[in-house]
């Protein structure tokens, strides 16, 4: 079932929190995963795999490098769900 962007953001924030310990409130739409949240490529992959499971979508390896901001990820997941 397609979720709203706010629901996806909340779910993604939980995943980021679990992987990095970052406060869920810090996971905002315009934040960059690498520059603002200091998430490296392996942690990003863990977040991607957990997001696939949580949101029931497939995020190919080649797509991951395009997910620069939290908004990129939320939009990708929302489109993949619809």
């Amino acid at each position: 079932m397609a979720q709203s962007e706010q629901e996806i953001l909340a779910g993604l924030a939980e995943i980021v929190n679990e992987e990095t310990g970052l406060d869920t409130a810090s996971v905002e739409m315009d934040k960059s995963f690498t520059e603002d949240l200091d998430i490296d490529s392996l942690s990003m992959m863990t977040i991607v795999v957990n997001a696939e499971e949580k949101f029931g979508v497939r995020i190919p390896d080649d797509e991951v490098k395009n997910l620069k901001t939290v908004r990129d990820a939320v939009t990708f997941i929302a489109n993949a769900q619809s």
Binding site: L42, M45, D61
Partner: protein
């Protein structure tokens, strides 16, 4: 297939004699060799604009052993083998087959294994295995089947790499990952099962995620115009995040299958010895496997880095030498790497 009608029937007077089949196999001895020179992260950081802390956080690696320029794959294999033979309590003459798993022996032909055999004074059958970081576990599976099938009494399996010859020290993704070394095991007959069924396979669709950046044939071109362009050297490149995803979420189920096929559970293990690719892969894999907290996990990577085919036997030798894992205990070992290829099995530690 239908046979052509010749009007002849088999004589039926002779039958092939084979050694008794279906006996058990086990690892009877292991050995390891690490080159003397230790290279800490601090020696590598300038060329990749990095820091010791950055490397530790991303890989768990603090240092690696690097072979001397004139120290060969066969030199290192020989040193590890002599230890393994001592541990097994056999002589080189008792070896019937020698398998050397390596991707860094710098001759396409001849293989490293016959040269190693000659060094040992052996004329045993000898060949190399090209299965990268899975090479040792592939070798253990093949050796076990040789012993069980009766074609060999003792098989030497060596995992050895001189990755320093194939590392691009300007590549931030791989410069700090690799190390040099050799690990060896002797597989022999056993009264009880000592090597469980191997779960193995390949995924060649992902051949590019760990690969030499050029084929050797690309080196022919510059011969007419000599160049020192390092980009032409066929160093090993890696798409780290893709490898990470495959290794953790693809390989943990393979390791679980190896437990299931052997008829044991993670609770029964005395050691978990995965390929030493990256501490974060090891930790994530252990988490996926729901490994009980009391099972020691090999972390030889910290000071040895990723030695590809040598990593599992080197880690095994260290865990036994340090008393971290007991002789006679059960270990789950898994190798995975360039190909992509993988193999996992439960073994009784020698």
């Amino acid at each position: 297939m239908t046979s052509p009608s010749t009007g002849r029937s088999p004589k039926g007077t002779g039958t092939i004699t084979v050694p008794p089949a279906a006996r058990h196999s086990r690892i009877v001895g292991v050995g390891g060799y690490r080159p003397k020179r230790v290279v800490p992260n601090s020696e590598l950081v300038d060329r990749i604009n990095s820091s010791d802390e950055w490397i530790r956080e991303r890989s768990g690696i603090t240092a690696r052993h690097v072979a001397e320029p004139d120290e060969s794959v066969v030199d290192m294999a020989e040193a590890a083998t002599r230890q393994a033979l001592d541990h097994a309590g056999i002589t080189a003459e008792q070896l019937d087959f020698i398998l050397v798993a390596t991707v860094t022996h710098p001759f396409q032909t001849p293989a490293a294994a016959p040269e190693l055999a000659a060094r040992l004074g052996s004329t045993a059958a000898a060949t190399d295995i090209s299965a990268a970081c899975a090479g040792y576990c592939y070798g253990v599976a093949m050796a076990s089947d040789m012993v069980r099938g009766g074609s060999a009494d003792h098989v030497l399996v060596v995992g050895v790499e001189k990755l320093s010859d194939f590392t691009d020290y300007d590549d931030r993704g791989t410069a700090f990952i690799f190390g040099d070394g050799a690990g060896a095991a002797v597989i022999g007959p056993s009264d009880t099962p000592g090597i469980g069924p191997t779960v193995w396979g390949s995924d060649g669709t992902q051949r590019d995620v760990i690969s030499q950046v050029q084929p050797w044939t690309e080196l022919r071109q510059p011969w007419s115009e000599p160049t020192n362009d390092p980009r032409l050297w066929p160093a090993i490149g890696m798409a780290g995040p893709s490898v990470f995803r495959w290794a953790v979420w693809g390989m943990a189920p393979i390791a679980q299958q190896a437990l299931d096929r052997a008829g044991v559970t993670a609770d029964d293990l005395d050691a978990f010895i995965p390929h030493q690719a990256n501490v974060r892969i090891i930790d994530a894999m252990a988490k996926q496997l729901k490994l009980p907290a009391d099972v020691p996990i090999a972390r030889d990577i910290t000071t040895t880095a990723n030695t590809s085919a040598a990593s599992v036997p080197l880690a095994t030798a260290r865990m036994l030498a340090d008393g971290e894992a007991p002789s006679g205990g059960l270990a789950l070992q898994i190798g995975f790497g360039a190909g992509l290829v993988y193999a996992a099995q439960v073994v009784v530690l020698p």
